[in-house]
């Protein structure tokens, strides 16, 4: 059972959170110029890696903040958590 370190609240059981899937997907604000394929990429295509995964979590039963985490999806070890807007590379090392 995962224990997730919320950047604000500290370690909490996974069931206090909602998983938000892959992080750092870029939502274009002017979507008219995107092809169907580009749009499908944003909507549906996912890295889904076996290994390090930058992902989003929402502390829904806590501080109600969205944040990011890097987790190894093979071992479920959480390598880092960081706030929205912070870059992954800053925390990964």
């Amino acid at each position: 059972m995962l224990t997730i370190p919320c950047p604000w609240c500290g370690e909490r059981d996974v069931h206090e959170f909602r998983s938000g899937g892959e992080a750092h997907l870029k939502r274009e604000s002017r979507t008219d110029n995107l092809s169907d394929a580009e749009w499908a990429d944003f909507l549906f295509l996912r890295a889904n890696p076996k290994g390090e995964h930058a992902e989003r979590w929402y502390h829904v039963h806590g501080c109600r903040r969205w944040f990011n985490a890097v987790r190894n999806t093979h071992t479920d070890t959480i390598l880092a958590v960081y706030k929205p807007g912070e870059a992954k590379s800053e925390v990964s090392q």
Binding site: T3, E11, T31, D32, L34, W39, Y58, W66
Partner: protein, 1002 residues
């Protein structure tokens, strides 16, 4: 009632008290401190069960939780429990136990015919037969299911309670034997918060069973008592007896199952839970779960009276029981001699010690020799005899290679066989934690290797055998764990231990049987009746991965999960394949360590506490006025209010009529409400709704559609502008939380530049809708500061004032097409305001209406319900609501998806109305519409009926449907094929009532 097989003295039982119990209807007695197994043994009972497949007679193999054979049906009626290990049942007065998997009786079991048939039904036989005729399996299966299954489920609901307990600690110690107690002492003394759990009634592990071990020159049990007393006195230590660490999950989260009152049977106090599930987050874990003795695999090694050697010592020393009169020991290591000596000292005749080793020369064999015990070195048991209990063993001399017998076998009569094949470290929890096992070739054991979580193993589970080493490892592990958790400490001094020296065993995996292996019944997995021959057969047929062997033969899949058998099975498979054991590898260890009751895992989250019931502030009024309720998510809403003698139809018709002719009143409090505040609030709404929000005037309301990024309708509702920077948004009842989550997501991650704050106020307000031509008069009667006139208070606008003397926000919106006001007041005042409205409405014959009438009213107007007309595949245009989608906004959620090729294609499903030929005929919601009904399926479907009601205002049935190319079908006649008839329908516009929308002004 005499305990014929009780030793005259000794053991940790309370001889001053007798407890009476029954097994298969016969009454026996035992003492506090007994397990059911030890009490049965003390009464000379060995035959306690039948095996799973061959229904062979089985006795008691072990003295612990690893027991595969002695599975008992405990208790009666709703409290009965199947498959309980007799070795774990603490005796209480009046205990009722029965054997299982036998018919008609334990002694004479018809199922034993399987044993006779066994040559025909080796591992995996069922894959090869029962294939004819094609549906024949349904018949064979019934018979097979009856033969399988072991015990019986209870007859009815469980009368007992179960609890949860969340806990946090610095150090969790699993196992309270020598190593575990030492670890807990070390960590506890350092000041760490410690939890120590042991599955047994008493802490102490094997120390409770070894009469010949001394610690600090006193019997080992004295040290156990001292340790337990010290631990119990520490405020920072929680001692949990009868508590199994059953699961080691990720991130050092462990599940423990405490049996709080099981041992009290019917004497348990009512207020106590039966079991408690501990959910522990530990900074550090010490595993001290001991080791499990390994059986030897030889011909007919499964007869009652054949048990593990150390377990026999346990019955003698710990329970003061005498399992037999004439003992044969079969061993590959010195500890078998320790058992022989213990038996000898207890007055049990030792007929022979059979040692697979060519030579036994350690101190224990020497003591045995000195005591005059007969020893057969280089021998093995090759068969046993006895119908319901072993009555002799046959042995033979092993060839030097160990895989053959030289010369003729011969028999030795006995009524008890103790076997010892060495010790397997109990690595279940370690493996569950994802730890890697290392293989120690000299004694053929898997020991903990690299660990993956903050844990350490200590004692016998770490492959250590002597008590001195177990204690030392325990102290060290406890101290280190505490240190890692931040508690400095001193290394405790070593304790002086005296005990016989028992070096590790040299593996001896399979004694060559007298008969051909396929007939010899050399059992490896006792519970599932898997023999060495089965394992070899599996390998021969190509099931060579250990996981395939497991699944093909079912070895290790019983209730004991192969605790005593897996390593033996692996060794035999490896030998057959000619591979090293670590290369073949173990099967995966999974939770639970021992079976854990559903009740404990469910806790109190059943019945009234299964799922919260959310009620509105006005609920009590509805209940008092006879409302029927419907579940909407967690909410309970008034569905309709039948008057005496009315059925649902009549009640709903009355409510619907009233809402269009007089005044109806509806509790709409469950609608989601979100306060949206900030300078960018309008811009934010502009992005999350499909239509335009920038220019909405203060005090005005607007309907909005919310899409997913995939362009499909997800939610809708009316939002009002309270101020320049302030909106009150409403959502559907079911989606309130989801919408809030999604809006926060956009704000926090996509558009952090927008200055907007959201606060959910769903529960701050009671929302009361008054609806119908008389609603204005009613409102006017209860307010003196709101001008209710049509011009002063136009449709889609908001007024703040008082209603019934209470501050209120009144919004003129309509979900029915009628003149309608939505009155929002503080939740605590909701019921009072509702009652005031009911009272003031009496002259207009005010009629409370429920969700059903509301649905009819909105369907008459063709208004959609998200989740009923939509299913995640409908766009605004599909719903005929293209008008609600801005053509000019550069961006809103879902915009891009509306121009994908599939969203703009012809022939998408579109919302339409349906009218049946027979106006009395109400279509079934969910029914499908076809162009032409055929005699036989398949029929191409155009779509389905989403909503269907009898409309009393139209005096006929109406329905909404989504049909492929629906709008082009308006005017056409189509068919709805039902199982018993075909219903003709005409496609119409989805608006049935007041299509011009004239009534909203009253």
């Amino acid at each position: 009632m005499s305990q014929s097989h009780r030793l005259p003295a000794g053991g940790r039982i309370d001889r001053s008290r007798s407890l009476s119990f029954t097994f298969d209807g016969t009454r026996y007695s035992g003492h506090p401190g007994d397990t059911l197994a030890s009490a049965l043994i003390a009464n000379g009972v060995h035959l306690v069960g039948r095996s799973f497949k061959y229904h062979r007679p089985r006795g008691i193999l072990t003295a612990g939780s690893e027991e595969p054979n002695a599975l008992i049906q405990l208790g009666l009626g709703n409290r009965t429990e199947p498959n309980i290990r007799a070795t774990q049942i603490e005796l209480y007065d009046g205990l009722t136990a029965a054997s299982q998997n036998r018919f008609p009786s334990l002694e004479f079991d018809l199922g034993a015919v399987n044993d006779t048939l066994s040559p025909l039904i080796p591992a995996g036989f069922y894959y090869k037969t029962f294939m004819w005729p094609q549906r024949g399996w349904m018949t064979y299966e019934r018979a097979i299911r009856r033969m399988a299954g072991l015990g019986r489920a209870p007859d009815g609901p469980d009368p007992d309670r179960y609890e949860y307990r969340h806990a946090h600690c610095d150090v969790l110690v699993a196992g309270g034997g020598a190593a575990g107690l030492a670890a807990a002492l070390a960590a506890g003394r350092a000041g760490a918060r410690v939890i120590i759990a042991d599955e047994q009634a008493e802490m102490g592990g094997w120390l409770l069973s070894e009469g010949d071990t001394e610690i600090s020159a006193k019997p080992a049990v004295d040290w156990v008592e001292k340790a337990v007393t010290e631990l119990a006195g520490m405020e920072n230590v929680t001692l949990l007896r009868r508590t199994t660490a059953f699961g080691y999950y990720d991130h050092n989260w462990l599940g423990l199952a405490e049996r709080v009152t099981d041992h009290l049977g019917p004497y348990a106090a009512d207020h106590l839970p039966r079991q408690r599930l501990w959910q522990v987050r530990a900074k550090q874990v010490v595993l001290a779960t001991g080791a499990i003795e390994r059986p030897l695999v030889f011909g007919q090694n499964d007869r009652p009276g054949i048990m593990l050697a150390a377990s026999l010592r346990s019955y003698i020393s710990r329970y003061g029981a005498r399992p037999g009169k004439a003992l044969v020991v079969f061993t590959n290591n010195d500890s078998g001699y320790r058992t022989a000596l213990a038996a000898h000292h207890a007055g049990i005749g030792v007929a022979a010690i059979i040692d697979s080793r060519a030579e036994a020369s350690g101190p224990l064999p020497q003591s045995a020799r000195a005591a005059g015990l007969r020893i057969y070195e280089g021998h093995a048991i090759i068969a046993t005899t006895g119908r319901l209990r072993v009555d002799s063993v046959r042995l033979g001399r092993l060839a030097a290679s160990g895989d053959r017998i030289e010369g003729a076998g011969f028999g030795i009569p006995c009524d008890l066989v103790a076997m010892s094949g060495g010790w397997n470290p109990n690595v279940s929890l370690f493996s569950q934690s994802r730890g890697k096992l290392d293989f120690r070739a000299e004694d053929g054991v898997f020991v903990p290797g690299q660990s993956f979580q903050p844990l350490r193993s200590a004692g016998a589970c770490n492959g250590v055998l002597s008590t001195a080493d177990c204690l030392a490892e325990g102290f060290a592990a406890g101290a280190e764990a505490a240190r890692e958790a931040g508690f400095a400490n001193r290394k405790p001094a070593a304790l002086k231990v005296t005990e016989p020296d028992c070096p590790a065993a040299a593996p001896f995996w399979l004694a060559p049987p007298e008969k051909p292996l396929a007939r010899a019944k050399c059992f490896v997995d006792f519970q599932n009746d898997v023999t060495a021959a089965d394992l070899k057969l599996a390998v021969r047929e190509g099931f060579q991965s250990v996981e395939h062997v497991k699944r093909y033969t079912t070895t290790g899949m019983g209730t004991d999960q192969g605790r005593t058998s897996n390593v033996n099975a692996l060794a035999i498979v490896s030998a057959t394949l000619g591979m090293e054991m670590p290369a073949v590898g173990t099967t995966t260890f999974r939770p639970p360590y021992t079976p854990t009751s559903f009740g404990a895992i469910a806790g109190r989250n059943i019945g009234a506490l299964f799922d919260p019931v959310r009620r509105t502030p006005i609920h009590e009024w509805h209940a008092a006025h006879g409302a029927k309720f419907e579940n909407v998510g967690q909410w309970v809403r008034a569905w309709y209010y039948p008057k005496p003698g009315e059925d649902m139809h009549a009640a709903v018709n009355r409510e619907v009529k009233a809402a269009r002719t007089g005044v109806g009143i509806l509790d709409a409090s469950t609608l989601g409400k979100i306060m949206v505040k900030g300078p960018d609030a309008a811009e934010f709404l502009n992005r999350v709704y499909t239509n335009s929000w920038l220019k909405l005037g203060i005090g005005k309301a607007r309907y909005g559609l919310m899409l997913g990024e995939d362009g499909m309708v997800r939610d809708d509702g009316v939002t009002v502008r309270l101020g320049e920077d302030r909106f009150l948004m409403s959502t559907t009842t079911g989606n309130a939380a989801t919408v809030m989550t999604s809006l926060e997501d956009y704000l926090q991650t996509e558009w952090p530049e927008l200055k907007v704050y959201l606060t959910s106020v769903t529960e701050q307000y009671a929302t009361i809708t008054i609806n119908g031509p008389k609603s204005r008069e009613l409102l006017a009667a209860l307010t003196d500061d709101i001008d209710t006139g049509n011009e002063a208070f136009p449709h889609m606008s908001l007024r703040e004032g008082t209603v019934a003397g209470v501050p209120a926000r009144v919004i003129r919106i309509s979900f029915t097409g009628e003149l309608s006001f939505e009155i929002n007041v503080r939740a605590s005042q909701g019921k009072a305001v509702w009652e005031a409205l009911i009272e003031a409405g009496a002259p207009f014959d005010i009629t409370p209406y429920g969700t059903e009438a509301m649905h009819v009213l909105r369907a008459e107007k063709g208004f959609i319900i998200v989740g009923q007309e939509t299913d995640g595949s409908m766009t605004p245009d599909d719903l005929g609501m293209g008008w609600a989608v801005s053509k000019v906004k550069p961006d809103f959620v879902g915009k891009r998806s509306l121009t994908r090729s599939d969203t703009v294609r012809e022939g998408r499903k579109q919302l339409v109305g349906l009218l049946t030929e027979d106006p009395k005929e109400v279509l079934e919601e969910g029914a499908h519409v076809v162009q032409v009904a055929l005699q036989q399926p398949p029929m191409a479907m155009l779509g389905h009926v989403t909503s269907s009601y009898y409309s009393p205002n139209l005096e006929r049935s109406i329905a909404l449907a989504v049909l492929k190319g629906g709008r082009a079908l308006i005017g056409k006649t189509l068919s709805v094929p039902m199982p018993d008839k075909v219903i003709k329908v005409t496609v119409t516009e989805p608006v049935f009532f007041d299509p011009k929308g004239e009534r909203a002004n009253g």
